[in-house]
Symmetry: C2
Subunit: 252 residues, 2 copies
């Protein structure tokens, strides 16, 4: 009998929570393991994950669990299986890189710095435009959410997870105020990258200047309905982050 002992769950502090945590099952753990292995480059595109049975045996799990994990990876475009040919890692451009779970795998190990730059570049494109739309379409509830998030940011600062969560909430509130679902899904992806980088910078003791005033300027412009001003203020904010990321690249 394959004895338990796997399930290296991290901080799953909330028992009754359904929404947040990965809430992993066995096949979820396998998918995580394989996903991080692929994202970290341990398996390169074109490589073959030889043998369903061999793999299942190596991981000490049943074929079904392994198979379900492969289903997950297949659904995210990381691999493709064909009879007799085996399960191969697909080329990078087929990967669903904006999927929150894939992103989590990418940031689980040492994320590709070039990919982080990509995400920040995407952010520098999307968020100013989003701020512009938000200034035109926000309602009172949106503004309240932003204001609360700002207050929380002030209280906790970005050195704590609570503070970073507040930062994400602030940006998410802006995306939400655009009334654009396609934009909104991007917030989760971008937020993950920003969060990781902020943590990284903190470890490196290279936190940038106080970001609160920049955030306040964005809020003020959105509250005033000043579309151009909101876009410009957000531009300042994300350009700063983009520059920081670039310099982090160099010193690395």
């Amino acid at each position: 009998m394959p004895e338990a002992g796997f399930m290296n769950e991290d901080a799953n502090a909330k028992p009754g929570d359904e929404a947040r945590g990965p809430g992993r099952r066995l096949h979820g753990a396998i998918a995580h393991k394989l996903g991080t292995a692929i994202l970290s480059g341990k398996y390169a595109p074109g490589d073959i994950l030889s043998g369903e049975v061999a793999f299942a045996e190596e991981l000490q799990v049943s074929r079904s669990a392994y198979r379900e994990a492969i289903q997950v990876l297949t659904a995210k475009g990381l691999v493709a299986s064909r009879p007799k040919a085996g399960t191969r890692v697909l080329p990078r451009d087929r990967w669903n890189l904006l999927d929150p779970e894939v992103l989590g795998w990418a940031f689980a190990g040492e994320p590709d710095i070039e990919f982080v730059r990509s995400l920040f570049e995407l952010r520098a494109i999307v968020e100013p435009a989003a701020a512009r739309l938000a200034a035109q379409r926000r309602d009172k509830a949106d503004l309240k959410t932003m204001k609360d998030a700002l207050a929380a940011m002030r209280r906790h600062t970005l050195t704590t997870e609570a503070g970073r969560a507040a930062d994400r909430d602030f940006h998410k509130a802006i995306l939400q105020a655009t009334r654009n679902d396609a934009l909104l899904v991007l917030s989760a992806s971008i937020g993950a990258a920003v969060n990781w980088t902020t943590q990284f910078k903190q470890r490196a003791r290279a936190l940038p200047r106080n970001p609160i005033p920049d955030h306040v300027r964005v809020y003020d412009a959105i509250a005033a309905g000043d579309a151009a001003g909101a876009a410009e203020a957000m531009n300042v904010l994300v350009d700063l982050a983009l520059e920081d990321t670039k310099s982090s690249m160099v010193e690395k």
Copy 2:
């Protein structure tokens, strides 16, 4: 051995192949069925897909097939399963709307016109910025790909699937020239929406003015390395499409 092999399942030219069909596998067919049902609103967020056995029996498939389909939907954030509680449809903001397969399900039935507008708005934000980057970073190979795609567009026109594919290729080449993976992933999502809309407009006999010259202007600016010009030319192109989409909304 990383032998280049079967990675071209999109480009299967064989007509006898079931390229059109929804499901390459049984569980894929089930996932398609359930996915379209959810995306079309037949199952609303919070609804429960009661009973693994009941559903499997209703669909005349084994529990495993149904289960693997649910895994796929879970991986895309559409549903979540919990013991005793059943499988519930998650709220919309958890859905992975930019996933190519989810997008396919969204466009399989009558897609939400508001969501289409979202995608076009995203496109109007991303593509001009992408054209700007492409003008700065493209190499000769990128330009050749764009040129070839333009030629194919001229040959086939947008009334044929081949022509629409060439259009997608053109835009994808631009995204590729940005050297930005995160942007590139979006091309598939946006391309699907544009393709669907183009077909729709064709059915409605409301094709806009000849789009080739607009595309040529974008190409010329990128080839010349004119970042601002490329952004502006692309802006014209996508704004036109966005306007068309809005008017389609009204007349519908």
